[in-house]
């Protein structure tokens, strides 16, 4: 499969020594990256590879580690590049993408309050959907006690 997606992955591999990567289908590729490189990679993607649209930032809880999952795509083509960065649960901090993609702000806020991934550099990391008194409970974590709701 010699697609643009694969080419993208190869470029990432050359430049940022990304090791774990996969081409799932012509339009879906993913790569696991080191958390400290996310900002540099995003800059590279948006400036040089026309990946100018951040589709979403998801987070997931895998026991000891939290994972920030970025879906980066473009307005001109349909390739969705999924970047995954593992951060330890004890210190879940990762660079914010807001300098590159403006719309990362709210996704990061959401991931912050629901999963506790803290984004360094986000201008306003305030709770977005949860009431203030529920902050710090991180309901989307697997060890969250408040679900199902006891009332």
């Amino acid at each position: 499969m010699n697609t643009t997606g694969e080419l993208t992955l190869n470029m990432l591999k050359e430049k940022f020594q990304v090791t774990e990567m996969r081409v799932e289908s012509p339009n879906r590729v993913w790569a696991r990256i080191a958390p400290d490189k996310i900002l540099a990679i995003a800059k590279f993607l948006s400036n040089e590879l026309e990946f100018d649209h951040l589709s979403s930032i998801a987070g997931a809880d895998y026991g000891e580690a939290l994972e920030a999952v970025y879906q980066i795509t473009a307005y001109s083509h349909g390739i969705v590049l999924t970047l995954k960065a593992k951060v330890p649960k004890s210190n879940p901090v990762i660079d914010s993408l807001t300098p590159v993609y403006w719309n990362a702000a709210w996704y990061e806020r959401e991931a912050y309050e629901l999963l506790g991934i803290s984004f360094r550099g986000n201008p306003n990391l305030a709770p977005l959907v949860l009431p203030a008194e529920m902050m710090g409970e991180y309901p989307l974590r697997k060890d969250y006690k408040g679900y199902p709701n006891p009332t």
């Binding site: 009431p131 679900y147 709701n149």
Partner: protein
């Protein structure tokens, strides 16, 4: 002067003379008149007026909110019954809880309810507002609406059809005529 020094409570600020005035005033406030009217046949006329002019608060909260909007629009048209939407809680008679009540929204909802003038009624539209619906076990929803609001009418459905909402209004009208609604029973 009878004023307790340094106390911040409301009762402490009331002076004796004020109490006398208050007692005097309550004798002629509208609530006293209403209490008197309740014993007379005039109450039936008032109830007729009230039941035929149930203005509801526009407050779409979820799927049911869309159906609530549709109920007011041409196909169903609640204006036939004299039921029209009002945007300000001060002028509304019925609060339709049309969707999920969350922990974050509850204070605002209470505030809206307090801003409405008596007599007022609550209609719980949809499963979410009755019992949490599909979201009953979620960490952010409140499922026991009954604890917070004196609900007169429950309309089940997810979402209920506009016909059901109209039926709910008709049931509320029946309750008002029969003086069985919770406002008149003082069961709030």
């Amino acid at each position: 002067m009878g004023e307790v020094e340094g106390a911040g409570s409301e009762t402490a600020k009331v002076r004796p003379i004020q109490k006398i005035i208050d007692a005097h005033v309550t004798f002629t406030t509208t609530s006293a008149i209403h209490d008197f009217l309740k014993k007379t046949p005039l109450q039936d006329l008032i109830n007729w007026g009230r039941k035929n002019s149930l203005w509801f608060l526009t407050q779409p909260m979820g799927c049911c909110g869309i159906e609530m909007i549709c109920t007011g629009a041409p196909h169903y048209d609640t204006d036939r019954f004299g039921i029209i939407p009002r945007c300000s809680p001060r002028q509304a008679d019925v609060m339709i809880i049309s969707g999920y009540i969350t922990k974050k929204y509850m204070p605002a909802l209470k505030l809206l309810w307090d801003q409405m003038p008596e007599p007022k009624w609550v209609i719980c539209m949809g499963d979410c507002s009755i019992s949490g619906g599909p979201f009953w076990e979620s960490y952010s929803t409140i499922i026991n609406t009954e604890k917070y609001f004196p609900v007169d009418i429950y309309i089940p459905g997810c979402p209920p059809r506009p016909e059901q909402l109209i039926q709910g209004f008709v049931e509320l009208q029946k309750k008002i005529t029969a003086k069985q609604d919770r406002t008149q029973k003082g069961d709030t």
